[in-house]
């Protein structure tokens, strides 16, 4: 108990005379703040991207593509094959009709507002079932496209990110001209990066005959996936891969988010090492500036342990202040910051927001804590071992 009191007393003393050492303390704080800022900023990009991709996928929707396809873009299914899927066991029916949407997925060049350069924007032809196999999709502005007409509805994110997609405007892709008749939201998911139209119209415009690229069906239950998969495997007329929509989007998200992490983590570790050096430097100088004070305390009867802990605590508190500062700046500057990038897996743009989540901030604080503890340890040992008589004689 007495030891604890000593630690508290010395720590309190240290903290109160921090203002006298403000220069080097601020350096330590800013060093840690920069680490946490970079950490949170880079990884919030991966988080935001994953959130956008994964929130699109539901576990009771299956997506069926030609076997071996790595994405919708390079899949292909004939009309007959989509009918086989419609009749397969395990899929949910609404009365006689299967809850499904056979879709076509192409890419069109639209200018990005931010850079005014062409971007691969996904253009999806859907059947009306698209609204039933996906959750949370709703037209929020203008109206739904009419089947059979060159009309498109655009995702909210796409509308914000790419030029010329305001409701009421006309947009030309090659030979065909399209009316933008409305905008839809899809719970912030990847669907919001897309343009949608009637699949029959898109087939015509792209001379795809009567073919599709993917089929989405609602499953009777989560277990029905196996039933459906087995049935399609046994059918010689079709060779297809069956995935839950969630699996599909996780797979699509993986390469890019892995890449961001591959860069983000080593970067943070390197920066953290740099910050440890910074913290070490400022704590060493704090100890050397306070040499006389520490010796006095020792002479008064404070034990080496209390000196050790007080120095460590000071360093840790400085680091945590830095961590909180960096986290706050990252949150204010980056959270919700919208960007779009080319997702290599689907060769098309995904619009997403940076997500500085609570998890990330907590991880950032942990990093700060470690930097603070490491940066304080050696100076603290030196402080505790300071020879009293000699230190008192100095200066």
């Amino acid at each position: 108990m007495r030891g604890l009191n000593q630690i508290l007393a010395v720590t309190w003393l240290n903290l109160r005379n921090l203002p006298q050492r403000v220069g080097s303390s601020i350096v330590a704080v800013i060093g840690v703040a920069a680490v946490v800022l970079v950490f949170a900023a880079v990884l919030s990009m991966a988080k935001g991207f994953e959130r956008t991709m994964i929130s699109a996928g539901s576990e009771d929707t299956a997506i069926i593509m030609r076997s071996g396809s790595t994405s919708e873009l390079n899949s292909g299914l004939s009309n007959d094959q989509t009918l086989i899927i419609a009749d397969a066991p395990g899929v949910l029916k609404d009365g006689d009709a299967t809850v499904m949407s056979a879709e076509l997925y192409v890419v069109v060049d639209v200018k990005k507002k931010s850079s005014n350069t062409d971007a691969n924007v996904p253009f999806r032809g859907v059947q009306l079932g698209a609204f039933d196999v996906r959750k949370n999709v709703a037209v929020v502005e203008g109206r739904m496209f009419e089947t059979g007409k060159n009309e498109i509805i655009v995702g909210r994110s796409a509308q914000q990110e790419f030029a010329g997609l305001d409701t009421g405007s006309k947009i030309r892709f090659g030979q065909s001209e399209w009316d933008v008749v409305g905008a839809f939201e899809a719970g912030g998911s990847v669907s919001e990066s897309e343009l949608w139209t009637d699949v029959r119209v898109l087939q015509g415009a792209y001379r795809r005959g009567n073919s599709f690229q993917s089929v989405r069906v609602k499953l009777q239950s989560k277990d029905s996936l196996d039933v459906l998969e087995t049935a399609l495997e046994e059918d010689p007329r079709i060779s297809a891969d069956v995935l839950t929509e969630k699996e599909y989007y996780s797979g699509q998200a993986e390469p890019l988010s892995e890449f961001i992490k591959l860069i983000g983590y080593p970067l943070t570790i390197l920066m953290a090492i740099g910050a440890v050096f910074g913290a070490l430097n400022s704590m060493y100088s704090s100890v050397s500036v306070r040499g006389k004070e520490i010796a006095t305390l020792r002479a008064l009867g404070f034990g080496p342990i209390s000196i050790l802990f007080s120095t460590m605590i000071e360093s840790t508190i400085l680091a945590l202040v830095g961590g909180a500062l960096g986290g706050a700046i990252a949150y204010l500057a980056f959270n919700g910051f919208q960007v779009s990038t080319l997702n290599g897996a689907s060769f098309s743009q995904v619009v997403f927001d940076f997500a500085v989540t609570g998890d990330l901030l907590i991880d950032g604080l942990y990093a700060a804590l470690i930097i603070g503890a490491l940066g304080g340890l050696f100076p603290a040992i030196r402080a505790a071992r300071l020879p009293v008589a000699q230190a008192l004689r100095e200066l």
Partner: protein, 385 residues
């Protein structure tokens, strides 16, 4: 220079402090080297692009194919010296993660179009003779340990064979390298004729055309003439220089450059604070010493120079070490990442920039303590001590 020993001794006055400062500078420039090499890859090898080469793609999007019949029509446009084509195959080797460029091409015409690719003549001849032959870039051959004579199975993700199969097998007939160390060679080339007869659909089309503009002709005019030729047809084209094409493609990745710059800014700012603080601290501690130097007859300017040189010296020691290790690491990473992000390269510009930054940071961190040291009045300083 004659004061070098003095500066050196001064710098190491407090060993731990100086080592720590050098280490943080080291880390900062190591990061700088890595980030600028990755940033370079994201600029899309624009420096490598050949100004006389144009790329013709479908106007709607790169994924739309163009008819094979355009070959002769493009060749007949005035100012076009030669033209060839390629397509996107988009397969993978063994596992989906092993993706790299695979293009079906006309062997001789393609190699002629890219004179920076070097391949032994007998290997090129063998490639031309073998319908299922292929050549790969040195980077790929190293990554996967391929040797001439190997049979390489590539899994198609788009191009099913007419017989329903998805595995395309190629005989490795040659390995090419690039003159330019900045250019990526993570590429597999195979015969378009084999592709054309074996694929199940989209026969009679190619992905894009590449053409060389005759010397003296204006590339922009030629590009416009080609696009005009196909205007209002079902397959309109978009022709751009290789550099513009690479750039616009890389721009699709968004503001990567901005993010890299911001990170560098944060790193640099931190670094400057750490070292600036150390410098001013060490000058503060040495006030009486500096006063003694002045008493001995050192001029104000020499004292300024000595303090400033010490700061620059510390920056250079840490910075050059960091840059050096960065350079070594990049040699390794570039190979590893070739398939995913080709063109990771530490350019001379980046190296020069880094050295300039070390000097600038040294001056910035040292200038205030140095000025303070210069203005020191001997009497005051000695009295204070």
């Amino acid at each position: 220079m004659k004061y070098f020993r003095l500066i050196w001794k001064n710098a190491w006055r407090k060993k731990i402090r100086t080592s720590l400062t050098i280490l943080s500078v080291f880390v900062a420039f190591l990061l700088f080297a890595l980030l600028s090499a990755i940033g370079y890859a994201f600029r899309g090898g624009v420096d490598v692009a050949d100004a006389q080469r144009l790329i013709v793609i479908h106007k709607v999007s790169l994924i739309n194919p163009l008819p094979m019949s355009y070959l002769n029509r493009i060749a007949s446009v005035e100012g076009v010296q030669s033209v060839t084509y390629a397509s996107w195959f988009g397969g993978f080797y063994q596992e989906p993660r092993n993706q790299f460029g695979q293009f079906p091409v006309d062997p001789q015409a393609y190699v002629d179009m890219y004179p920076e690719f070097n391949i032994p003549d007998e290997q090129l001849e063998a490639f031309k003779r073998n319908r299922t032959g292929a050549i790969v870039g040195q980077e790929l051959a190293t990554t996967y340990g391929w040797q001439v004579g190997d049979r390489i199975p590539i899994q198609a993700t788009i191009w099913t064979k007419a017989d329903g199969g998805r595995t395309w097998e190629f005989d490795l007939e040659g390995i090419f390298s690039s003159d330019d160390p900045r250019g990526s060679t993570a590429l597999l080339l195979f015969q378009h004729d084999y592709f054309e007869e074996t694929r199940a659909f989209a026969k009679g089309t190619v992905g894009w055309y590449i053409l060389r503009v005759a010397s003296g002709a204006d590339p922009i005019q030629v590009a416009n003439a080609i696009d005009l030729q196909f205007a209002n047809s079902p397959n309109e084209t978009k022709t751009s220089t290789e550099a513009a094409f690479a750039q616009s493609f890389m721009k699709q990745y968004g503001n990567i450059a901005l993010i890299v710059t911001m990170i560098l800014g944060a790193v640099f700012f931190t670094l400057l604070l750490v070292s600036g603080n150390t410098m001013s601290q060490s000058v503060r501690e040495r006030i009486s010493e500096l006063a003694v130097l002045k008493t001995l007859g050192f001029s104000d300017l020499s004292v300024l120079g000595i303090v400033l040189s010490e700061s620059i010296l510390i920056m250079l020691m840490g910075g050059l070490l960091g840059l050096g290790l960065g350079w070594v690491l990049i040699q390794g990473i570039a190979q590893q990442m070739a398939a995913f992000l080709p063109g990771v390269f530490l350019s001379t510009t980046a190296i020069a920039g880094a050295v300039a930054m070390m000097l600038a940071a040294g001056v910035l961190a040292g200038i205030f303590p140095a000025l303070k040291a210069m203005r020191l009045s001997i009497i005051d300083a000695l009295a204070r001590a």
